[in-house]
């Protein structure tokens, strides 16, 4: 099948989720004996950046360059990606399930009368019938979804698929093809972009250090922040901590907060209520530090320390500093 992958760019660069989607698309194309084509939509994306896509298994990048694509409109991006899909006669379209993927993929599914698997975690287990696994029940389950429409859309969960090592694949005949579909006026005016600066962004972080009620008060967050800084990690917190105003709401991870899937999640003084676990259970490795050896977190953690956070965490930070200076 011909696979079209939306290679999302952030200010002209392709980040990890886009590279995961490209690798996924390339492997899907290979599995079905088809070709994979990337689609890049933006305003003045540097050609040398687009050329890098050759490393991720595509033979061609369709490049839609237009000033209207400098800011985001779900309607507009859906329209041009839909045109690209028609042009390439794509039977499968792959997104990363980022904010953009979440905005575009459903609209495109409705436009193309295509079945959409949002939050896919693996390549299709079968092509005929077309079956893809996705997360459900907020990390408490998985479901195998069968798609029966002619065109299929997959929105891949970030951090769920590997990325080709750069240079591992190199299509010698890679080419960039400029594509100029009809461009209606944007329906969305962006008045301000507020960037979280200076800190590691929680949803993109490889490592997250999180604190709960066991920290006893907002004045004690220094040990969490120092550990996070040492690891180059983002900080997070449990719901009660955000509700009591100890930490800002945007740090709250859990079922009604933010869902994250970092490589390493370190939970300090968090008991591990089922709603909290729902937001973090797809982390690759979980460390729990808690005074209570019966805390539910130890049932889902890979590594645990039963002890007082105020003693253990500073020691752990020191050990990591030593490790970092030795490596």
């Amino acid at each position: 099948m011909t696979v079209l992958v939306f290679a999302e760019n952030w200010e002209g660069k392709f980040k990890k989720p886009a590279l995961e989607a490209l690798t996924y698309g390339a492997e899907l194309a290979q599995k079905t004996g088809g070709a994979m084509c990337a689609v890049v939509a933006g305003n003045n994306v540097p050609a040398e950046e687009i050329k890098k896509l050759a490393n991720y298994g595509c033979s061609k990048a369709l490049y839609i360059n237009h000033p209207s694509l400098a800011t985001f409109s779900a309607m507009l991006f859906t329209g041009v990606i839909g045109e690209a899909a028609k042009k390439e006669n794509a039977s499968c379209i792959v997104f990363s399930n980022t904010y953009s993927g979440k905005s575009i993929a459903p609209r495109l599914a409705a436009k193309l009368k295509a079945g959409l698997v949002a939050g896919a975690v693996a390549l299709p287990s079968s092509i005929e019938p077309f079956v893809v696994k996705k997360k459900c029940f907020s990390g408490k389950g998985f479901t195998d979804v069968q798609v029966t429409s002619g065109i299929k859309i997959i929105s891949l969960s970030p951090n769920a698929h590997h990325i080709f090592a750069e240079g591992a694949t190199n299509a010698a005949d890679f080419k960039i093809e400029e594509f100029s579909p009809a461009m209606p006026a944007s329906d969305t005016t962006v008045s301000e972009v507020k960037k979280t600066t200076g800190k590691v962004v929680l949803t993109e972080a490889e490592i997250v250090v999180s604190g709960g009620r066991g920290l006893k008060g907002p004045e004690n967050w220094g040990i969490i922040e120092t550990l996070a800084d040492t690891l180059g990690a983002a900080t997070a917190c449990s719901k009660p901590v955000a509700d009591m105003g100890w930490r800002p709401h945007h740090e709250h991870v859990g079922q009604t907060g933010i869902t994250i899937s970092p490589n390493l999640y370190i939970a300090i003084g968090i008991s591990g209520a089922i709603q909290h676990l729902a937001g973090v259970s797809s982390s690759k490795v979980i460390v729990a530090i808690n005074t209570d050896k019966e805390a539910p977190f130890f049932q889902v953690a890979d590594y645990g320390i039963v002890g007082d956070a105020f003693e253990v965490v500073p020691k752990l930070t020191e050990s990591i500093k030593k490790f970092k200076s030795a490596h």
Partner: protein, 245 residues
């Protein structure tokens, strides 16, 4: 403002999820169902704007008769009337097409959903309705205000927030911070019993997606306990065994 708020009927957040022995369905025995928490945030914000500026709030659900208590709860919180499309909500595009079909003739100014339902976590229905109706959509929004006939929203983006303006009618999905959910009071609960709840039969049968089986996540291997006096052992394991640092 004439609001339509889409309500999903989902297992309570504290539910331990299990599946039937054949793995083909959710084990619903003993499960309490609630309004999807993000939908409740959307509903609350719609009510706040209605109270300040006037208008109506209609709630809609695609579901079988078992979802009616959830719709009654939405009426108790303050919605004016409810609509139930009488069908099993097996596929997002099917659900969206049914809601869009109903909304087409009703001229709503705003169609709101939660950013995802906590059962299928797909977040598809809002964008699909918007595309089917040809109106702007803003996904994962944290704020909504209506001023001078326009909708001003704040939405999450990778690494920050963005303030956007769209014309009316529009659709949006609510993320945390959209509104603080309300607990219905006795008057609300009493009046909910007599508010209109209309049942409509589905208009289409196009269902391109179907969940064929379910599993719980694989059981974790036992947690390795580390001596609190020797956290360097944890660093060693994270580097050499887990390979995450």
């Amino acid at each position: 403002m004439k609001f339509l708020v889409c309500i999903s009927h989902v297992p309570d957040t504290t539910t331990r999820i299990t599946f039937t022995a054949d793995g083909k369905a959710l084990n619903t025995a003993g499960i309490q169902f609630i309004i999807n928490p993000y939908d409740e945030m959307a509903l609350t914000r719609a009510l706040e704007i209605k109270e300040a500026q006037g208008g109506t709030v209609t709630v809609i659900n695609v579901g079988t008769a078992t979802t009616e208590p959830t719709l009654r709860k939405a009426l108790a919180i303050g919605a004016d009337d409810a609509v139930r499309i009488n069908a099993d909500p097996v596929d997002a595009l099917f659900v969206a097409a049914e809601i869009a079909h109903y909304a087409q003739n009703e001229k709503f100014d705003a169609i709101l959903t939660g950013r995802e339902s906590i059962d299928y976590n797909s977040g598809q229905v809002m964008g699909m309705i918007a595309e089917l109706l040809g109106i702007p959509s803003v996904a994962v929004a944290t704020k909504l205000d209506i001023n001078d006939g326009k909708a001003n929203l704040e939405r999450e983006i990778d690494g920050g927030k963005e303030l956007v303006t769209v014309s009316i009618p529009f659709a949006a999905s609510a993320q945390k911070d959209f509104a603080e959910p309300r607990i219905p009071n006795m008057r609300g609960i009493m009046s909910a019993r007599t508010k209109p709840l209309k049942v409509i039969e589905p208009a289409s049968a196009f269902k391109p997606v179907l969940s064929v089986s379910y599993q719980n996540p694989p059981a974790k291997t036992a947690c390795k306990m580390i001596d609190p006096a020797h956290p360097e052992e944890l660093v060693n394991l994270l580097h050499n065994e887990a390979k995450v640092i």
